[in-house]
């Protein structure tokens, strides 16, 4: 069954090709169900591969499918080969599973769009690229997927490219990602220089055979460079700025970017390279710090945003921060676990918010919502489940994974990590419920015009919501403490440094066995406090928030403007670059020097060509004369040329 793995890639590719080439001529239904079917089949095959992998003994769960030899140049050999192991299987299940639901949802959501086939073509390509990224068995192929994901995000964020904000956002996403990709590419080059190979198995076995001492400079450089790539894709400080803008794309695309594809790439990559990262304590500290700071930072921005999708976007950045925190303290399993649960509830939240926007004919400002609960009951219920899950209330998915991360941060890391993380969790619960309350509860602030069209979304949109709500509910049980199925499954890849060991150490050590349970209680309490505050401010005393905003005007303004990071970047990087580009590079170097010399050379060569053309007289004796001249030249060279 494992041999089928290539099919997982093939189906979305076929979907892309057919929709790309013939989509215009196909009927809308055909296009949509073709794209859906492709991902659905992909999911089925992924599941079969998963079953196949389960049948192997845990230590042998590594399968490589060689597709073809790809690039060979001297000592550099790269094959196009796929790798199936527990980590990649978890990823493909999430990608195809959540991806399928998003595709299904898109059929309804995009139904009136005139770029229907283009949309599904890109969407399939997006899933294909992401699958390529997680299935590749070497860094180069992974990089191809990495780049392709960036390209697809560009295409999809800028899907409504007639809108300037959309095409600007697309450009921003692409450029910011390029910065990260540059680091990633440098990291790959350094890996090749160091290990003379870019195959995962070879590189990691070289690492594990201990040729590199802990904290060696090369490994630190490699891991830092790779991490720069991860900050770009996974929207961490300082390269996170593209993600909030990325909501300019259609909402299902946001769901795809935030949940199943794209942003999880960085976390996956670091988990994949855990052997390397463990060798560099410095990088680990950097990763954990960036993670926790991002988590807190983004959560604080999320407190005051008024655009429903923007709040969710900052919450994604914040949640990704948790995942990096987990990776940074060495709890890779916890990171991947949170990645998975986050995929469920974040996809759910985005799709539900899409449903809200759909119902309100495109309104995204939560100040113009409120009291929607009775009008769109299914959306409300599912949104509620997603909110509870992200806030971290047991037994919903987000609780287990977030709790896991916070515990690991405390045990493996230090108290600062934990306290910052816990505070971010408080903020998360607060702003998510603020969102929920402002959208669905309280008085209705919807204008009349939108009110007339207010309606619950069609079946093919609510169905994915219900499915994702189910997953958000049960998703946590894969990694429930005690019988941690996910951790055992991932152990061959992510090593024995899973949390069971930690818990063992905890119970044996000075912390005592009660610590995990205490932590659970604390986590729950924190979440409840957040919810309570939100309830107080937005349901009980609706005026309170305004007063607070007045009171702390400066902070409020700072948060509302997202700490002015975009403006700072503009001032420091973008404007000077633009200035240098136009004033110096373009006007002087490009126009004067490069264009001048290129045009000059082209003109010169053209002139020479026209002159030489006259040698072509058309007379045989003339041509024969050339032959004789050449003949003399050659004989002289051959005989007397020594």
């Amino acid at each position: 069954m494992l041999n089928l793995v290539a099919l997982i890639l093939l189906f979305p590719l076929i979907g892309t090709v057919i929709n790309g080439l013939a989509g215009k001529r196909l009927r809308k239904e055909t296009v949509g169900y073709l794209a859906c079917g492709a991902i659905g089949l992909s999911f089925l095959v992924s599941f079969m591969v998963f079953i196949g992998l389960l049948q192997l003994p845990p230590d042998e769960r590594l399968f490589e499918k060689h597709l073809f030899r790809w690039i060979e140049s001297g000592s550099f050999i790269s094959a196009a080969a796929l790798q199936v192991d527990p980590l990649s299987v978890v990823m493909i299940l999430v990608i195809t599973g959540v991806g399928f639901l998003i595709h299904l949802y898109s059929i309804g959501y995009m139904h009136h769009d005139k770029g229907y086939h283009r949309y599904f073509c890109y969407l399939n390509l997006f899933v294909f690229s992401m699958l390529l990224l997680v299935l590749s068995n070497n860094f180069l192929l992974m990089f191809i997927g990495w780049e392709a994901v960036g390209l697809c995000s560009y295409l999809l964020i800028g899907f409504w490219f007639e809108k300037k904000s959309a095409s600007d956002a697309a450009k921003k996403a692409f450029v910011v990602n390029r910065v990260g990709d540059f680091g990633f590419a440098l990291g790959i080059m350094l890996i090749f220089l160091t290990f003379h190979s870019i195959d995962f198995t070879e590189v990691f076995s070289a690492v594990s055979h201990g040729n590199f001492e802990k904290g060696s400079f090369t490994v630190t450089m490699i891991t830092l460079l790779l991490f720069i790539g991860a900050t770009g894709k996974s929207a961490q400080i300082p390269l996170y700025t593209w993600l909030p803008d990325a909501m300019e794309g259609p909402t299902p695309v946001s769901a795809l970017i935030h949940a199943a594809t794209m942003v999880t790439a960085g976390v996956y990559m670091i988990a994949r390279c855990n052997a390397l990262y463990l060798l560099s304590p410095f990088t680990m500290t950097v990763v954990a710090s960036i993670g926790v700071i991002t988590a807190l930072f983004a959560a604080s921005v999320g407190l005051v945003q008024n655009d429903i999708k923007r709040v969710l976007a900052y919450s994604t950045i914040s949640q990704l921060g948790y995942m990096f925190l987990a990776c940074g303290v060495g709890a890779f399993t916890a990171g991947v676990f949170h990645l998975m649960t986050h995929a469920f509830f974040k996809a759910l939240l985005f799709l539900a918010s899409g449903s809200v926007i759909h119902a309100l004919s495109g309104e995204q400002d939560i100040r113009k919502m409120g009291g929607l609960k009775p009008h769109i009951p299914v959306t409300y219920k599912t949104f509620l489940i997603g909110t509870v899950a992200i806030a971290g209330i047991p037994p919903f998915a987000g609780f287990f994974s977030k709790d896991e991360i916070l515990l690991e941060a405390l045990v493996r890391g230090n108290f600062i990590y934990w306290s910052l993380g816990a505070f971010a969790a408080l903020l998360t619960a607060f702003y998510m419920f603020r969102l929920l309350f402002m959208t669905f509860h309280g008085e209705c602030r919807v204008d009349h015009h939108a009110m007339e069209h207010l309606h619950e979304s069609p079946k093919n949109m609510t169905l994915p919501l219900v499915a994702l709500a189910g997953l958000s509910f049960v998703g946590g049980f894969f990694g429930i403490p005690g019988a941690n199925a996910l951790e055992h499954f991932l152990a061959p890849v992510l090593g024995g440094h899973g949390h069971t060991e930690v818990r063992g150490a905890v119970s044996a050590g000075h912390h005592g066995a009660w610590l995990p349970y205490l932590m659970m209680v604390i986590s729950t309490a924190i979440a409840l406090v957040g919810i309570f505050l939100a309830y107080q401010m937005y349901i009980k005393k609706p005026g309170l928030s305004k007063k607070l905003a007045e009171r702390f005007r400066l902070i409020h303004k700072l948060l509302l403007n997202k700490y002015y990071v975009d403006e700072i970047y503009d001032a420091i990087f973008i404007n000077p670059t633009k200035k240098i580009s136009t004033q110096v590079l373009w006007k002087v170097i490009d126009v004067r020097m490069i264009d001048g010399s290129v045009n000059g050379i082209a003109w010169l060569v053209g002139r020479i060509g026209s002159v030489l053309r006259h040698l072509q007289t058309g007379y045989i004796r003339n041509y024969a004369f050339y032959i004789v001249v050449g003949c003399i030249l050659i004989i002289v060279l051959a005989v007397f040329g020594r």
Binding site: Y619, R621, F625, V628, V629, I632, I635, V639
Partner: protein
């Protein structure tokens, strides 16, 4: 004695070939060509290649040249018009280059005697077996493939002749 004969015949060959190029009357030109062919045949005989000499006479001097003459006479070609020289500036360099090429070839050829393949086919051996028989043997053993492919070559040439000459296909 043979050496003198060689030089005389060689001189005739070259002279008639040069005349052939400069002759403006096509009939005379054809006759010079016959003379060149026959002189070559004599050279072959001097090299003890009687069979090749005979073939040379029969094929070139006999068949091909007679055909040439027929065509020339039937078409009633006049003395060629003086075509205007379209490349006046090429004349002097061309002559110089021709002389240069000739000189170089002379220098190179003079530097060494060519011996060819001697080991097996000595004069005595060739006379013992017989010139024609030996060639036949070689053609059907050692050089069978080129010999057979030559048939395709001739076939192609025949197709070409028909293609280019036939009025309507």
């Amino acid at each position: 004695m043979l050496a003198y004969l060689f030089y005389i015949v060689a001189a005739i060959t070259v002279t008639t070939a040069v005349y052939l190029i400069f002759e403006k009357n096509p009939v005379f030109g054809a006759l010079y060509l016959i003379q060149t062919m026959v002189s070559l045949a004599v050279l072959y005989i001097l090299l003890e290649a009687q069979f090749v000499a005979a073939v040379q006479i029969i094929v070139y001097a006999g068949a091909i040249m007679v055909l040439f003459l027929f065509v020339i006479m039937l078409l009633n070609l006049d003395i060629g018009e003086e075509t205007k020289n379209a490349l006046p500036y090429q004349r002097i360099p061309a002559i110089l280059m021709g002389i240069a090429l000739f000189t170089i070839i002379c220098i190179v050829i003079r530097s060494k005697l060519l011996q060819g393949k001697q080991d097996q086919y000595t004069t005595a051996f060739v006379q013992g077996v017989g010139n024609t028989k030996l060639i036949g043997n070689l053609l059907f053993t050692e050089y069978l493939l080129p010999f057979e492919i030559t048939s395709i070559l001739l076939f192609v040439a025949a197709i070409g002749a028909i293609m280019l000459a036939k009025r309507k296909l």
